[in-house]
């Protein structure tokens, strides 16, 4: 009888001790969200460029070079 109780107690201790080994990983898997807001228009879809992307890119490129004083002074 005592032996049975002792065996059960040892079994319970072992089961309790190993309970932590069954822990699952707790690192959250991150997922990138998707934009939920309103759609935006392109910069060339404006009154100035009327959807002409090539013209807009040309103007911006020229404007970029205005920041280069070595080109401006030569």
């Amino acid at each position: 009888m005592i032996r049975t109780i002792a065996t059960a107690a040892v079994g319970a201790v072992i089961a309790f001790g190993l309970a932590g080994c069954g822990e699952r990983p707790q690192v959250i898997e991150y997922k990138q969200g998707k934009y939920q807001g309103k759609a935006d228009t392109q910069p060339y879809d404006s009154a100035t460029f009327k959807g002409d992307k090539a013209e807009w890119e040309r103007v911006i490129k020229n404007r970029n070079q205005n920041q280069n004083e070595y080109k401006r002074t030569s």
Binding site: G33, G37, N64
Partner: protein, 207 residues
């Protein structure tokens, strides 16, 4: 077109805050909100450096990653923008941003935090281009007018450059090649001599 970027040349920035003023004026930014500011390292110490900082329009923007309502998006030109109609003003983006770019205006009588406001690279937001609604929420849309951000175009020393990242890199490379390197060419050393140098005695001065 490549990605739109800002580039600030610390050798040229003279901490005039012209970029900050230009931004405030251009977008009618409310009091207490600074979309751009000038940061000085070692202020008052010989060799101090200033740099103009705003939203850097990150490739992998942390503000986009942490936003609980997913109100951020990236335009075709790589500009990080957000929808103010969706923003709840929680401030997560402010904690996530390494540059302190997101700003929160005080709304209401008890200092309640309003919707987030930040640099838009002068390209407005998700409203019709150059509309009154767009100006009210996000400021002027200069890109749609074929112009670059006001801060960079106003910069007197051209320390702050804005535009296509590849073009900026070329401009900066040419500049550095032409001027050499270090403060002896442009900056503190030119103006005041190398660190530790004795100031020249004025002519006729008694010793």
């Amino acid at each position: 077109m490549a990605r739109m970027k800002f580039l600030c040349d610390a050798e040229r920035c003279i901490e005039c805050n012209g970029c900050v003023t230009a931004c405030k004026q251009e977008h009618d930014v409310p009091w207490g909100v600074n979309r751009r500011r000038v940061v000085t390292i070692n202020d008052g110490v010989p060799g101090e450096r200033s740099i103009s900082v705003a939203c850097m329009h990150c490739s992998d923007a942390p503000c986009m990653a942490v936003c609980p309502v997913d109100c951020f998006y990236k335009s075709e030109e790589g500009v990080v923008l957000h929808d103010k109609d969706l923003c709840i003003g929680c401030g997560y983006c402010f904690y996530a941003c390494p540059f302190g770019a997101p700003q929160f205006p005080q709304a209401g009588a008890f200092g309640v935090r309003g919707k987030m406001d930040k640099c838009t690279f002068c390209s407005g937001g998700p409203e019709p281009n150059n509309s009154a609604a767009e100006f009210k929420k996000y400021g002027r849309n200069r890109l749609a007018e074929g112009k670059l951000p006001a801060c960079a175009e106003m910069c007197a020393t051209k320390a702050l450059l804005a535009g296509d990242g590849d073009v900026l890199a070329d401009i900066y490379r040419e500049r550095v090649t032409m001027r050499g390197k270090g403060a002896e060419v442009w900056g503190w050393g030119t103006a005041y001599g190398p660190p530790g140098a004795k100031p020249a005695a004025p002519a006729g001065a008694k010793s």
